[in-house]
Every structure is written in structure tokens, then in C-alpha cells.
Subunit: 508 residues, 2 copies
Amino acid sequence: MTASPQSPADLYDLLCHRARETGQFTAILGLLEWDERTKMPPAAGEHRAEQIAFLAGQIHRRQTDPELGGWLAELAESDLAADPHSDAGANIRLLQRDYDRKTKLPQELVEELSRLSVVGQQVWAAARANDDFAAFLPVLEKTIALKREEAAAIGYDDTAYDALLDEYEPGETTANVARALEGLRDALAPLVQQIVGSEHGPSDEILRREFPVDQQDAVGREAAAAIGFDFMSGRLDETVHPFCATAGPRDVRLTTRYQPHDFGDAFFSTLHEAGHGLYEQGLPPEQFGLPIGEATSLGIHESQSRMWENQVGRSRAFWQFMLPRAAKAFPAVLSGVSVDDFYAAANTVAPSLIRVDADEVTYNLHICIRFDLERQLIDGKLAAADLPEAWRAAYQDLLGVTPPNDAQGVLQDVHWSGGSFGYFPTYALGNLYAAQFFAQAARDLGDLDAMFARGDFEPLLGWLREKIHRHGRRYSAAELVQRVTGRPLSHDDWLAQNRTKYGELYRL
Amino acid sequence: MTASPQSPADLYDLLCHRARETGQFTAILGLLEWDERTKMPPAAGEHRAEQIAFLAGQIHRRQTDPELGGWLAELAESDLAADPHSDAGANIRLLQRDYDRKTKLPQELVEELSRLSVVGQQVWAAARANDDFAAFLPVLEKTIALKREEAAAIGYDDTAYDALLDEYEPGETTANVARALEGLRDALAPLVQQIVGSEHGPSDEILRREFPVDQQDAVGREAAAAIGFDFMSGRLDETVHPFCATAGPRDVRLTTRYQPHDFGDAFFSTLHEAGHGLYEQGLPPEQFGLPIGEATSLGIHESQSRMWENQVGRSRAFWQFMLPRAAKAFPAVLSGVSVDDFYAAANTVAPSLIRVDADEVTYNLHICIRFDLERQLIDGKLAAADLPEAWRAAYQDLLGVTPPNDAQGVLQDVHWSGGSFGYFPTYALGNLYAAQFFAQAARDLGDLDAMFARGDFEPLLGWLREKIHRHGRRYSAAELVQRVTGRPLSHDDWLAQNRTKYGELYRL
């Protein structure tokens, strides 16, 4: 602890220096995780888990250091913190927020949750493989109990779920999210029924032809580069589950996966991860390690991936640009295919059991189900033992499908086993934010389709950089949406866009 | 600082815990450096340099922590340290050695050397590119002055060079190395003259045919796996300069480089790095992060790479096993080639200007020249300004070649620009250790050639694991050579092996 009085400016420099050092550890952690999933030799896994736990412990120790808390308390009183959205004001305010959140949790609870998360994921993986929900139930019950303890330690105004949601979507409330998602659900269910009932649905047969993997990789890279992903500051590798990892301010790594008879899986995964990557590459590098150098929420992150995947990548205009390029790589299966036919094939809708395989439209219903169920679990309105039955009823009700077993039902996702309650809604929020931002970009920029059709994505990317990326965490998701679009979060734009698009494709 | 008295066993546990944590950082550093040279996006270099410097600083801080020094002082008096070669005794003794060495250096000198090393390598790279020794001279002079300061801070009995050599070859003395290398040089120079004068030299034309790079990669992997490199605990990638990096106890990463018209360059580089990798994979994993889990010296490390590259990989018996496999991969250029012809092609000797391209025989003369010159520089017997002239004279004298310029002469190696004085002799020591160990292995194991010819490398690897690898730093290089071979370091075995081999190949 330093005893001598220091000027706020000196103290802020100290604070930034400390945070940047912690940011180095976080970036290194990003590399360790990327390496684990892409390059690491198989036998190294056990030691890598120790490395990651050790580094995570170092980061936690630094983030909860009482000296840091002392600096923050002093700086909060200074002029530097007067404007909460200035660089210094935002950094001080958000480091304070992170410090408070982390120091509110008793060390024992943190360690118990961390241990349970590791065990929980192992137990869940076995339970899913054996379609044995009963085997997962005890660990799920214990996890829910600990998450309630976590919420109580952090504190909340309205519902315990608020405190959990706040970790992933800072400043957002359960009531507000529920308003948006329940409104979406009520409007979406009939739209899906209409689509399912249509006799004019397109087929995705074109995408199921034979697409050699090497050319898929080349076309995916071409598309990612075309929308602006900078391969000098990033790379693309192959993994089982696509992801985007950051190992430094100019080091953003995407992964995707290739299947020879499914062009869409890899291509739209690549666009999706490239969308995440564009956000990471657009954060201000000079603020790396500080809050302004970080993404503001999972929902906003997902809005960037979804916009490039769906609003851009599944548009007719995009394929006016991209199809001739893809046809050059796959002349045997794509020569003679029209833009309209390809566009239709890339936009088929069918209710299904598995979230990660769902189309753009039904995806949100999968999220509504999870959001609803996990709130009830946390609030104690639903017993974990009754979850499979509630799951089946919800799927039958909203999607018209019933899981034949729990492996394809309630056991399909890893999130709950690792304690990630409050994470699911950010996927749907991402879709809504994406639609709302995109509608605003069209108002601000003019004819986006004309730009996409000639491969000009720079205006849209520049707009996103200016309005969203460069601010990092300066504004919360809710503030950002209000600032950028002049309105609060709503499902209106998403519904309008999809009603038009699928109304035309399915002749509703 | 802990005030309560603790049992030596408890204190030793604390010590080990601390050292293992530091070992985690060191392993992560290994991964960062591997990634930088293999996978990292180009624009990420600046930040990676900061990451590496930050992590190196964290490691240094931990290794020089006064609390660690207190523990070591207390443990040195305990029964645990009584046997200097027991697990605990060796770990305590060697951590003490490292602590003493690092804490003897003033922090200012460490930082000045670190800064100068970065600048020095940049200046050197430009000077080499422009063939401009004068541009490099000031930084070289400054480096030499600082290395003398370093030696003075560390202390030495005989010559300042002792203190520098000791960093790379702990416990070894300049006088002892000089005895071995000068004896080698005096016997080797006439052997090279004989070889050069022979009218019966083989040609390496076979190795200069067209070898498609993908198959080179497959054959290199097959050979590395055959000698025992475990790809479950390691991998092989492509880089400009081959190296071996360790990122964990079961995570050893090799690199090599492929040229379509030089089969030997990649193949023997792969064997060489696999030899380093086998040593790393043979260190006791339960001692990872502790001295017994580390290699004992650079010379011993090089002995492992050189033995697999030269004593094994350039033997006739090895190619009895390997040539049919290589011919299957390269039928167009290798079918019909005899083992004798291939073996001869893999063992051509020709004095040349560049160390890293030198053959097995003349390589040691390149090292003798550097060892001689760098000792004179450190002792002040040679002014840095006179180095190019001394270099040319030595090359003319020992190898019969004269560099046409400094870029291909005194500026060819990076070592001095980074302050690595005392490093060069470990390359030649590695050759001598390799020969001495190999001669002993042949005495202990019987007909090694018969084993190699049938692809059975397990007896030799098992012998190395038992005699050398599993001990880590328990014994110094000098102790190890004495224990394993019953004799001190000598150039006798190296000379005997090479006189026989090249006498036959060149009909001397």
C-alpha cells in the first residue's frame, strides 16, 4: 500500500498500468484456450487445465486486490470520474463495478462454483451421452442452489435472476428482457406456424451438394476478408465447435468447421465468427486491458456476429456479390444456380429440436424456452426434477416438436452444467440488437443492398466501428441501443425484417 | 514473510509450490514464443513482445523474491539438503544456485542488458543486411562492457568468461572447455585437410533432387516417431528456423523447414529437433517446474539432438531401415538408390563460410573460432574493432576459406548482438558429449547398428532416459559425463568415430 499522497492523474496512471498487466494475463488466457482447442497435443490437456486455472486465479487475485479497491475509491471522488462516459470516467466506473461484483462474492463460494463447474460439465457430458437426466439432477440442483447464493451475495432489486443476467448483460434487467422476448415469442410463434403451413417453402438441396473442404476454406476466407476481417491481425482455423478468441489487440482468432455435404454450416459459421472478430478488431487498441478496450456485453457481441451472418450474409444482395465467386470455387455444383435459388436455399425454416442447428427464425424460440425455464429454476418456481417435463411441454407448445429423449432435449446444452445461468437470453438479445442496428444503418447509409451487391461492405463496417466498436464498454448495451437508434430495445425491427423476408420466400 | 516456525518438510512443500507456479509461467512463455514463430498473425508482433517482456519480468521477480531466499537459506541447513543429489537436496541446491546468480546482478544492469539486447539485435540485423560492421561496432562494444560487468557481479575464480559460460553450462570452466576444444581443433584441422584433399569424396546430388514438400513432411514425421518422439505429447510445424519449444510436461513442439530441392536440410533438422524433444519428453513430469524437471545444460541438450541427427541419423544402419520408407514416398527420385550411395550423400564434407550450413566435421571448427574470439573479447585481448580481421584470419587458417564480406563472416550469427557470450562452445560440447555417450551406449547395449537397421531405437532411447533424461539437473554436465561414461569430457570418442567414418567414406 502506498502511503504518500498522489495526484489523481498519477493514481489513474497506476490504475491503468495495473489493469493493462491484468489484461496481458487475460490475453494470454485467450491464447491458451485457443491453443487447447486447435493445436495442443492430446496428452497436454491435464497440464493445460492446471495452467488455465492458475492464470485465472492470478487474474482474480489482481482484480480483487484491496490496493486496487483503495485507488478506485480515491479516484471515484476525483474530477477524473466526473463524466461517467469520458475515457477516464468510464474506465474508473467500470473497474469499480467489476471490483465490487468480484469482491462481493465470498472466496469459498467462488471456489465451490469453480469446482462444481468442472465436475458439472463432466457429469453433464456423461449424462447426455447416456440420456440419463437423473444422473445430472443432483449436480444441477447443487448448481442452482449456489447460483442463488451468488445472486444473494451480489444483491438485486427485483429478482435473483437480475444479479445473474447482469454478469453477461451488465445493467440489463430481467423485466426488460422479458418484455422484449415475450413480445417476440408471442409474435413469432404464429409466424413459424404460417411458415410451416406454407406450400411454397424453398429447399436447401443446393447447399447439400458436394463441396470439397479445401475450397470451402478458401471461399470462407474470401468472404471474411471481403466484409473486412483483417487477416494481418487475425487467423482462421478448424475446430469441432466454431469460436472467436482474442490473444491481443491485433490478434483475433476465428475457427470454423467443414463438412463436405453442408456448405452453409461452415460458411455461415465463418461469417458469424468473423462478425465477432470485426468487433474485437474494432475495439480501440490503445485501451487494451481497460474497460473501454473491451466488448460491452455478450448481447452486443452477438449482435455483431448475427448481423454479418444473417442481415448481411443471408441477404439476396450479398449473394449477388458472392455467388459468382463461390461458383468459381465449386463449378461442378454451383454453375447455373441462380442468385434467387441460392438465396432461398440459404433461408429455409424448419422447427427442430437442437438450438445450435436452428434457422434464423426458430432460433429465438429455443432461447425463449430456456430463458423462461431458467428464470423459474432460479426463482424456485420450477423444481429441477420437473425440468424435462417442462422442457418437452414448451417445445411441443412453441415449436410443435417433442424431443424423443433428454439427450436431444434438456441435456443438449452445456451452459447450465457450468453454472452459466443468465447467458442464454444474450443470444436472442443479439438478434434483436442486430436487427435494430441494421435498420438504423440503412436509415443512415442509404441503399445497403446496392453496396453489398457490389461487395462494398466498408460503409456498414465503418458505421459499426464509429457507432459501436470504438466505444468498448463506455456505454452499456441499453445505452448504446438508445444512443445509436434513438429508441430502447425492441423486437419490432427484427419482426419487420423477418416478416418481409420470409413472407416473400414462403409466399405468406 | 512468514514468522511462525515451520518444519523443513512444510517449507520444502512451499518452495516446490512456488517453483511450480513459476514453472507455469515459464511453460506459458514457451507457448508464446512457439506461437510467435509459427501461428501468430503478423500485426500481433508488437503486443506479443510486450506480453513476453511482461511475463519474463514476472518470472524474474518470483525467482529473486527475498522470501524465496529466506526459505532456501533455512532449508540449506536442514536434513533435506544433506544429500546434494537426492530429489529434495538437488532441488534446494539448484534453486539456491539460480537465486544467487540472479540476485547478484543489480536490477539496473539486468534492465540495461535487456534493453541493449533488443536494440543490439535490431542493429545487428540491419548491419548484416547492409554488410556494415561499423554500424554494429558501438553496440557490440557496449555489450562486451556490460557482459564484463555481469561477470564481475557474479564473480569468478579464473577468467571473466567463466562467469558467462556458467550460465549455459553450469559448473563448467573455461580452462576445461578450452582443453577439450583446442585438442579437438588441433586434431581436426589436419583431418579436414585430408578430406578436402581426397579424390574419392562422395556427392550429395541424390539429396538435391526434387522432393515434394508434403512427402518430406510425412517422411520426417515417420522418422521422428520411429526414434520415439511421442506425437500425443508433441507436434511438428514449419518455420524459417527450426527449433524445439516446451509448453508443458507433455507438450513439446518441434519445427523444421522444407526446401523442395534439399531433402537433407529438413530431414536432419527434424531429427535434430526431435532429439531435443526426446530429452524434454524424458524429463520427469512430476518434477515439472523444479530443477530436476529441467535439462541440465545447453551442451547436454545439444548432445541429445546431435546424437539422433548424426550418430544415429547419418549412420549406414539407419538408412538400411529408412531408405525403403523414403523411397516409397519419393519413388521418382529414390527408387534404385543404394543404401551405400544414400549414406555417402548424407555425409559429404566441405569447408564453408556459414556455421549453420556446415557439415558434421567442419562444424566444430566454426565453434572453435567463435570460442577463441569471444574469450579474447571478454578478456580484453582483442578489441571489437579488430574482430573482422581476426575472424577472416581464423577462417583462412582453420578452414581455408575467407569470407568475401562481413555479412558472411563476423556478422552471420545473432548470438553476440543479444549478449549471448558463452553460448557458442555448448554446440561443440554437445558434439563431444554425444560421441562419448554414444560410445558408452554401444559398450552397454551391444550391436546398435543391428538395432537401427531393423528400426529398433527403443534400447538406445531407454538407455538415454535411464542414464540422462530422468535426472534433469540432478547432475551437472561434467558429473553426468563422468557418471555415465566413467571418464571426464574428452574429444577422443568424437575423433575416433569420425576418423573411422570419414576415413572410409573418403578413403583416407
